[in-house]
């Protein structure tokens, strides 16, 4: 039987704790919008904070880095679902009550379009910050939002 080494527990620098207090909720909300699953959102955000903590010394923009980690984490979740499950994403609980058709229409968009719309209309971010979070050019952000809105409009108008 191989004895596995115990994990090394490291306390975070104080600023990570502050970032956690101020950004955990909005980041979890963003992750929830992108994954439609509260436990996955919670896990993605926790992973993102661990990444921030791990790389704290080299991060110039912790919030931007954190946001990118969340978007990437949700992307990975989305991609795995696509490969492994191919099932329609579960509808968030509130969507069923508030805006069925918007929720249904959003579920049909490719991930990057959904992420761009959430970052614009939920997080109220400018093109440049959305571009950083999605690792694309600002022009691509505008294209993603334009195409996403176009598809949404078609779906809702049906």
């Amino acid at each position: 039987m191989i004895e596995l080494p115990p994990p090394l527990t490291v306390l975070p620098p104080p600023d990570v704790g502050e970032l956690f207090r101020t950004h955990r909720r909005p980041m979890t909300q963003l992750a929830y919008l992108l994954t439609s699953d509260s436990s996955t959102a919670d896990e993605v955000v926790q992973d993102a904070f661990v990444k921030v903590h791990t790389n704290w010394g080299s991060i110039k923009n912790p919030v931007g880095y954190l946001r990118k980690a969340v978007v990437n984490g949700c992307h990975s979740h989305h991609r795995h679902r696509a490969v492994v499950r191919r099932s329609p994403p579960p509808r968030p609980e509130a969507a069923a009550l508030v805006a069925d058709e918007v929720s249904d229409a959003l579920a049909k968009l490719p991930y990057r379009q959904r992420a761009a719309l959430a970052l614009r209309y939920f997080a109220d971010l400018p093109d440049e910050e959305i571009a950083t979070a999605l690792s694309v050019r600002p022009a691509t952000v505008r294209s993603l939002i334009h195409r996403g809105l176009g598809t949404l409009r078609k779906e809702i108008d049906r």
Partner: protein
């Protein structure tokens, strides 16, 4: 009348606000999480030892597959990919690590899960005369999973007078159909619309999980022919290594799983559009998904599929990773997993229903803890 953009934007904002209100968080301090773990404990390489969703998805992926006639993968050389030339024990997968990786990426997560035998599946795959790599592909899975277990996985519908659930995504049409006391039938079609798949499903009788009872379709759907019809018990083992750059711009994952002998055909049904290629002389499929992630998958041996996925890296990098894989011993593998705080797990799970051998986990619930990773998938 077309909805004005400003109205659509307002609806989106309202929608997002309403959804965001659903998020309820326990009050907890970051320090407390780290101190009391395991949620944010850090491994000895300073990386998160949490990739439980990957474990979970691989658990359920493996649960739908069975190992039949497996052969072992041995290291050929560092300049050519691992090849398959020796028998493996049932449910084994070759333990593969990369000899080469894009610069700057480091091991950040891993999983290794074995799932016990639990249920019977039969998966028949139909393809056009040109073969399985191009054109329409249809996979039909007869499973002992009850139809009731599908009800929450999609929209209810009726197919030829039988209860059904529409499981279609943007890329693949999918259906689950009631098979009475025998359980349920799932269909997944590449190149099919939902209505076309429903028309095909309408021709289904009540196939059993035993191929000797007759073909799923007789005759085969128009333009298609049967290319494989496999039966097996659930299994098996799945591994994944995840490498990431510290700035998160580049990621590479290496996944290996064993399943039924036609696992690669099942993979192709669900794969992104792409092109056929070769890896080490073995048939392979290269695709790029809508998010720009490059996937290269190949059939290492009957029932063993390897997939390299690359984010922020080029096709050539993914190919180089694929061509630089080598097999390691169980001891070396455990040492590697230990660096990210993971140890091989025996899954204690029941198999979820499947489409095309690939399970849909919506009816299932998961329990998680980490590290070391523990995942329990519970299905009705």
């Amino acid at each position: 009348m077309t909805m004005p953009t400003s109205v659509l934007e307002d609806r989106l904002r309202s929608h997002y606000r309403a959804i965001a209100q659903e998020v309820h968080l326990d009050e907890v301090a970051f320090d407390d999480l780290v101190a009391t773990g395991p949620l944010l404990q850090l491994s000895d390489v300073g990386a998160p030892a949490r990739r439980t969703w990957r474990v979970a998805t691989l658990v359920v992926a493996a649960a739908a597959l069975v190992a039949v006639g497996l052969v072992i993968a041995t290291r050929d050389s560092s300049s050519s990919p691992v090849t398959a030339d020796e028998p493996l024990a049932l449910g084994d997968v070759p333990l593969l690590v990369p000899d080469w990786l894009p610069s700057g990426v480091e091991l950040r997560g891993a999983s290794d899960t074995t799932v016990p035998e639990l249920a019977l599946y039969r998966t028949a795959v139909y393809a056009m005369s040109g073969g399985v790599l191009t054109g329409k592909l249809l996979s039909v899975t007869v499973t002992t999973a009850t139809f009731a277990s599908w009800r929450s996985a999609g929209e209810p519908t009726i197919v030829a007078g039988r209860d059904a659930v529409d499981l279609s995504s943007a890329d693949v049409a999918g259906l689950a159909v009631d098979n009475g006391a025998s359980g349920s039938i799932t269909l997944a079609g590449r190149g099919f619309t939902s209505s076309e798949l429903a028309a095909v499903a309408g021709r289904l009788g009540s196939p059993s999980t035993d191929p000797t009872d007759g073909p799923v379709f007789d005759p085969a759907p128009t333009g298609l022919s049967l290319v494989s019809d496999e039966v097996g018990l659930t299994v098996s083992r799945a591994t994944e290594l995840s490498y990431e750059a510290s700035d998160l711009e580049r990621m590479v994952s290496i996944g290996v799983w064993s399943g039924q002998a036609n696992a690669f055909e099942q993979y192709l049904v669900l794969a992104e559009p792409g092109e056929s290629t070769k890896v080490g002389g073995l048939r392979a499929w290269r695709s790029t998904d809508s998010d720009g992630v490059v996937h290269l998958a190949w059939e290492l041996a009957p029932g063993i599929v390897v997939q390299i996925s690359g984010t922020g890296v080029g096709d050539s990098d993914v190919e180089r990773v694929a061509n630089g894989l080598r097999r390691v011993s169980d001891i070396d593998w455990r040492r590697l997993l230990a660096t990210v705080g993971v140890e091989p797990q025996k899954g204690d799970s029941s198999p979820p229903p499947t489409t095309a051998g690939i399970p849909i986990t919506a009816p299932c619930t998961e329990q998680r803890s980490s590290p070391p990773v523990t995942v329990v998938v519970t299905c009705p």
